[in-house]
Amino acid sequence: MVMEKLTKLLAAHLDTDPGEINAETTFESLGIDSLDTVEMVMELEEELGVELELNEKVATVGELAQFIEKKLGK
């Protein structure tokens, strides 16, 4: 569920096809830096209605999805 939302959000941000993004995709390859990641997490927080303190480095889309799922207690 999180991975799906994240992919949609990224695709909308980058104006690309969601099919281009998978769990192994690195943020670097998408041209996304740490500040973009913080911004996306904030958007996800609003959408999911939870606080996600992003306090670890995440390199791939899958890692961020995992981090969020952990925070959601899933």
């Binding site: 913080v38 904030m42 992003l54």
Partner: protein
């Protein structure tokens, strides 16, 4: 009764430091700094000082407002990088200008100028003052860790000021603090105490970038919405948003959360970097000198910084 702004002024050191020059001694590049911060160059003191810049900004402001220093009833200064903890910078500015009124500092880090304006509004509301000079002046180069590529590239030196007189143009304001030194801190020196056994943290700027970004984006958009809503003014009626110039990425992200056209956000950080408490009056003076302000214009000011703190206000020009 609150105040209206009669005139503005600013002053910066003459030495320009470009991103390329920083890349000669830091592991960074013009591209990295530009993409992450929007800063292209900044001014850095060589022989100038924070209060010296504050005095010059104040002098220009008084001149533009046809006001003599002796006419001032109060000087309020906002700074985190003055040469002295005591005297307060406002006292140095008072002496430099030849004013005779009371003078004091307000420290709310990068939000300091907004807190100072609100403090001034209180003196006007009590009818204690007719003319007040509010100054933000910073020599951040003296507290920047020039070996830390994450913070050294952001900051710059400069000063700005506003001359206020009694009026009704300070429409709405909001101040906020969330105490603690975990996200942003500038420790003072422990000095030469033979007794102290704790840890001396370097007396320089320490900042957690991502957490600062997160705080800044959320308070900036929310504060602007809130002060406008309390003032009963639509976002579309705003002539200019004057945001604290911390990082263009913060301003860009806040823009997306607001219904104010992008071109109404004033930006000068490409030329001056983050000048802490001086950023707001420097931007305001830039707009004023460029003839972009018309009497009656609605301006929204929004700042955030160490404290953590944030402040926003609505002013009719």
């Amino acid at each position: 009764m609150s105040f209206r702004i009669i005139s503005t002024g600013s002053a910066v050191p003459s030495r320009v430091v470009t991103n390329d020059e920083l890349a000669t001694f830091l592991d960074t590049s013009d591209q990295w700094i530009t993409e992450r911060t929007g800063v292209k160059e900044r001014r850095v003191c060589v022989t100038e000082t924070a209060s010296g810049l504050g005095i010059e900004a104040g002098r220009r402001t008084l001149e533009a407002g046809n006001t003599r220093p002796e006419e001032l009833d109060m000087i309020i200064a906002a700074t985190v990088s003055g040469e002295y903890v005591s005297p307060g910078m406002a006292c140095m500015i008072q002496a430099g200008l030849g004013a005779t009124c009371p003078a004091m500092d307000v420290n709310a880090a990068c939000s300091g100028f907004v807190f100072a304006l609100d403090t001034a509004a209180g003196f006007f509301a009590r009818g204690r003052v007719k003319k007040v000079l509010v100054v933000g002046a910073e020599q951040t180069s003296r507290i920047v860790d020039w070996t830390d590529r994450n913070t050294a590239v952001i900051f710059g030196d400069g000063a700005g000021a506003c001359l206020l007189e009694a009026g009704d143009n300070y429409i709405e304001s909001k101040l906020f603090s969330r105490g603690g030194a975990d996200v942003i801190q500038i420790p003072t020196s422990i000095g030469v105490s033979p007794f102290f056994e704790g840890e001396q943290v370097k007396p320089l700027i320490h900042m957690k970038g991502q957490e600062t970004f997160r705080f800044a984006v959320s308070v900036m958009a929310a504060d602007i919405q809130e002060v406008l809503a309390s003032a009963g003014i639509a976002q579309s009626e705003v002539a200019y948003v004057i945001p604290h110039q911390a990082n263009v990425r913060i301003i860009d992200t806040a823009k997306k959360r607001l219904d104010i056209p992008a071109e109404r956000f004033a930006v000068n950080l490409d030329k001056y970097g983050n000048t802490s408490a001086a950023s707001i009056p420097m931007v305001l003076d830039g707009l004023n000198r460029d003839g972009k302000l018309t009497r009656g214009d609605i301006l929204v000011i929004s700042a955030f910084g160490g404290g953590l703190s944030s402040g926003a206000c609505v002013i009719q020009w």
